[in-house]
């Protein structure tokens, strides 16, 4: 657990005055969880992060990691026990990917062979082709460089990770991939992570808890992502969290067991007469393993169902998914019936928006109780062991 | 000090010759290296070729070049033309790379906008790339100017008349004052060149002064 107690950072402005980057900041980042610091530029989120591994020394206040005061630890020991990932990866251009990843283990005195074996494992673990190990950073794409940055930070298996806008410098598609793989990795590794971003969507997606900071370096709100969307503490947070909060908050609401409508399905190659026999304007087409492929307009089929006829606009929700996914599946489906698949990706049934909405309304009535329960659970874990 | 005041006439005469020997090559060098630098931005192999050749020319020590040019060109050893040509070679060697770098540094979006507006290759070069490269070219020119003023003084060893005369003459007569006067005069001349180039660059690039 990382704990900030009344941490303040002031900078002299050169003419006797001073500016406050971080002001009396207190926070607990619980062990094994992702805590995201988010806020507009100038809110001191990066300064806050960099005070943990003492890249910046606080003016006053105490930062502890597992109840050990960071100010009392030898600098090298402190930093080598913390994985550090930054925006432009900061790879060493003169070293191969493999040698970049082995840096910290080598500094810690691990022999070359062991360090390399472990590095190769990590390179694969972060989703990189092992063939890239011999390349130099300049030969990699931005996304690949960022993966190497993560592998390098994980190399010495530090319990704590600091991540400063690690996915900001890559394009949106790659960013989403990196975020998903980061979550997968974290579910395996369970590191204590402090994560800085200016992107509220990223914060809400990745954080177990989210700390919103305002300019001047004060904590505006600390909450779970769902709480944050449901109940922003003031206008600043509400404005920062942005539009479509109600809809976005649904992604944290697990879908309850719903009555799904079974649906007659067709496959590629089904004849036009069989399609029309279903007797509906839109018919769902599934693949060989029962996975939903798309809707077919019955009137458009002449001869047999072909891939060209598939309407693929609809999203597919999962039975284990969120209310948001269910609602979106219903809203995006040309037939008005949202496609739901089971855990194995097989078609499970359909659901209409009009069936999801009552569930949402019922949920709203009990939301306060549930949020309170979630918050106290988080705090329970956060108390010192 | 008195010595310098007593020899003001001579100082100005030699300074004038020095300025001519160091300054004319700057103009010649600029005129030649702008098209060369432009060529270097066109094709990678042209860039490598041009920069290699000009780079090799730059490695030849000045005194050696002053002596090698007369038999190659058929000029007399004492002909100031040797110095002008040698200094032009150094200036070209320095500026070709600078011009190429300056032209390549022009913002890609600016260049593409110019292409999209229908500029021809040459029209774009003249109207967009070259003006935007002026600050970089001017910086290179300042380096060349200072270097030229220093190197020209070496030519006094082979008897070409300029401020370097004070250095060789002062040394030969074991008269330090004269050497110091020569050094200071060279420095002042270099400073004048530097200021003139800066001023010209400022006048030619009014847009760089708006930011403040």
């Amino acid at each position: 657990m990382i704990r900030f107690e009344g941490v303040t950072k002031k900078y002299g402005d050169g003419s006797g005055g001073e500016s406050i980057a971080v002001n009396n900041f207190s926070l607990e980042a619980p062990t094994g969880r992702i805590t995201v610091l988010v806020g507009p530029s100038g809110c001191g989120k990066t300064t806050t992060l960099r005070m943990v591994n003492r890249m910046i020394d606080p003016t006053s206040g105490v930062i502890t990691i597992d109840d050990r005061n960071t100010a009392d630890l030898p600098l090298a020991e402190l930093r080598r026990g913390i994985g550090y990932v930054i925006q432009h990866a900061g790879l060493f251009p003169h070293r191969t990917v493999l040698d970049n990843v082995t840096t910290v283990p080598r500094l810690l005195g691990t022999d070359k062979k062991t360090a390399r074996l472990r590095a190769m494992e990590l390179i694969e673990r972060v989703g990189l082709d092992p063939d890239l190990a011999k390349r130099y950073p300049a030969q990699l794409s931005g996304g690949q460089q960022q993966r190497v940055g993560v592998a390098r930070a994980l190399a010495a298996d530090p319990p704590v990770m600091l991540m400063d806008e690690p996915f900001s410098a890559v394009d949106p598609v790659v960013r989403e991939q990196l975020q998903n793989e980061f979550l997968r990795l974290q579910s395996e590794l369970g590191k204590t992570i402090l994560f800085v971003t200016h992107d509220i969507d990223e914060a809400v997606k990745l954080g177990d808890q989210v700390a919103v900071l305002r300019v001047g370096g004060t904590l505006a709100q600390l909450a779970t992502p769902a709480q944050l969307l449901a109940d922003p503490v003031d206008d600043f947070v509400a404005g920062f969290v942005g539009r479509d909060r109600g809809y976005r908050a649904l992604q944290f609401a697990e879908a309850p067991e719903l009555e799904l409508t079974n649906e007659p399905t067709v496959t590629i190659g089904t004849s036009a007469s069989e399609v029309r026999a279903v007797g509906q304007p839109w018919v769902l087409c599934v693949g060989d393993d029962g996975e939903p492929m798309g809707w077919v307009r019955a009137g458009a089929v002449s001869g047999e169902v072909t891939r060209d006829l598939l309407q693929r606009g609809g999203t597919v929700a999962s039975t284990a998914g969120s209310l948001r996914a269910l609602l979106d599946a219903a809203l995006s489906s040309p037939s008005g019936r949202g496609v739901v698949a089971d855990a194995d990706g097989r078609f499970a049934g359909t659901i209409r928006a009009s069936e999801v909405v009552p569930v949402i309304e019922a949920r709203q009535q009990s939301v306060a109780e549930r949020e309170d329960a979630a918050a106290s659970a988080l705090q329970g874990e956060a108390t010192p062991a | 000090m008195t010595w310098a005041l007593d020899h003001l006439d001579q100082i100005f005469t030699l300074a004038g010759q020095h300025a001519w020997l160091a300054g004319l090559p700057l103009l010649i060098g600029l005129v030649i290296s702008v098209p060369l630098g432009w060529l270097a931005t066109r094709k990678a192999w042209l860039r490598t070729g041009l920069l290699t050749v000009t780079g090799l020319l730059y490695t030849i020590p000045s005194l050696a070049l002053f002596i090698l040019l007369p038999p190659l060109l058929g000029t007399k050893v004492l002909d100031p033309a040797n110095v002008i040509i040698a200094m032009s070679i150094y200036t070209i060697a320095l500026l070709t790379r600078t011009v190429a770098d300056g032209l390549s540094a022009v913002d890609t979006s600016t260049r593409q906008a110019a292409v999209a507006m229908g500029y021809s290759t040459f029209g774009r070069f003249r109207a967009v790339d070259l003006p935007l490269a002026i600050p970089v070219v001017a910086a290179g020119l300042r380096v060349a100017a200072v270097s030229n003023v220093s190197i020209v003084s070496v030519a006094s060893l082979i008897g070409i008349s300029q401020l370097g005369y004070f250095l060789t003459d002062g040394y030969a007569r074991s008269f330090p004052t004269e050497v110091w006067v020569g050094i200071v005069a060279c420095l002042l001349l270099a400073l004048v060149f530097d200021l003139v180039i800066q001023l010209l660059a400022r006048v030619l690039t009014p847009w760089t002064r708006v930011a403040a």
Binding site: M55, F92, P93, A138 | P61, A64, P71, G102, G140, L157
Partner: protein, 262 residues
């Protein structure tokens, strides 16, 4: 009259290849002075340049050294010689001031090459290095110096050429080396000897520069120099955003031959 034949005759005359005034002796002298000078200048300039680049303090040292390059080399040579020579007897009276001036001239390019090399290291790489617990010394030796290699080496090439050229001129204050052919030839109106000497000096400079260019191949990580599978192109793209014109002028003026002459 100087013709190819007369110069050829000079080079093929066995007398010119023997004794204290022979080509091998003069060439070795020239190399010796150059080597000693560079060794002294490296010992002075590299630690200072590394420290200034690493700490970001006292940048005026580099600016000052660069400004000092405006002093005419010939003037510096004569002035220092007149100041220092009386302090020594024997041949040291000529060697010491010459070496001193050569060192003074070699320092600015080495200093600014080392400094700008270190200063140009990607701040993110430096930040990451500190963040993973490297000490200042480790950051300097494991990250900054290897990354500074290209600019340091172009400073070294620049310094080497400067020293070879000025050592030639130093013959006018009685230093040995190849410059003797030029200065003695001038005194005795032996133009053939002057031209021959000039050819030797030019060749020495070219060979020295090529050797240093080859050194660059070995001393610089392929990850930085961009040799091999398309590294250079990618790197240019990636660093393009930071590649401002001023930085490129700095490089090009430090060493006009900074790039690959191969």
């Amino acid at each position: 009259m100087i013709t190819f034949a007369t110069v050829w005759a000079w080079f093929t005359d066995p007398a010119n290849w023997q004794g204290a005034d022979g080509v091998p002796t003069r060439m070795l002298e020239h190399l010796k002075f150059t080597g000693i000078t560079l060794a002294i200048a490296l010992v002075i300039a590299v630690p200072i340049g590394a420290w200034v680049g690493h700490s970001g303090r006292m940048r005026w040292l580099v600016t000052g050294a660069n400004a000092a390059r405006a002093i005419p080399t010939l003037g510096l040579l004569f002035a220092v010689s007149m100041l220092v020579s009386p302090l020594f007897t024997s041949s040291l009276a000529f060697t010491v001031p010459s070496i001193a001036v050569l060192v003074l001239l070699a320092i600015p390019p080495l200093l600014s090459g080392t400094y700008s090399g270190i200063e140009s290291v990607d701040p993110a790489a430096r930040d990451a290095a500190r963040g993973m617990g490297m000490s200042d010394w480790e950051v300097l030796t494991r990250v900054e110096l290897p990354c500074a290699m290209p600019l340091f080496l172009s400073g070294l090439r620049s310094a080497t050429l400067q020293v070879i050229a000025t050592a030639t001129i130093a013959a006018s204050i009685s230093l040995g080396g190849l410059g003797r052919y030029l200065i003695d030839g001038l005194a005795s109106q032996d133009y053939v000897q002057m031209v021959a000497g000039s050819i030797l000096v030019a060749l020495l400079a070219l060979v020295a520069d090529l050797v240093l260019a080859l050194l660059e191949r070995f001393a610089v990580s392929p990850g930085i120099s961009g040799r091999g599978q398309g590294v250079a192109r990618r790197r240019r793209l990636r660093f393009g955003r930071g590649g401002d014109a001023a930085a490129s002028v700095k490089n090009s003026t430090d060493a006009p031959l900074g790039a690959d002459p191969a």
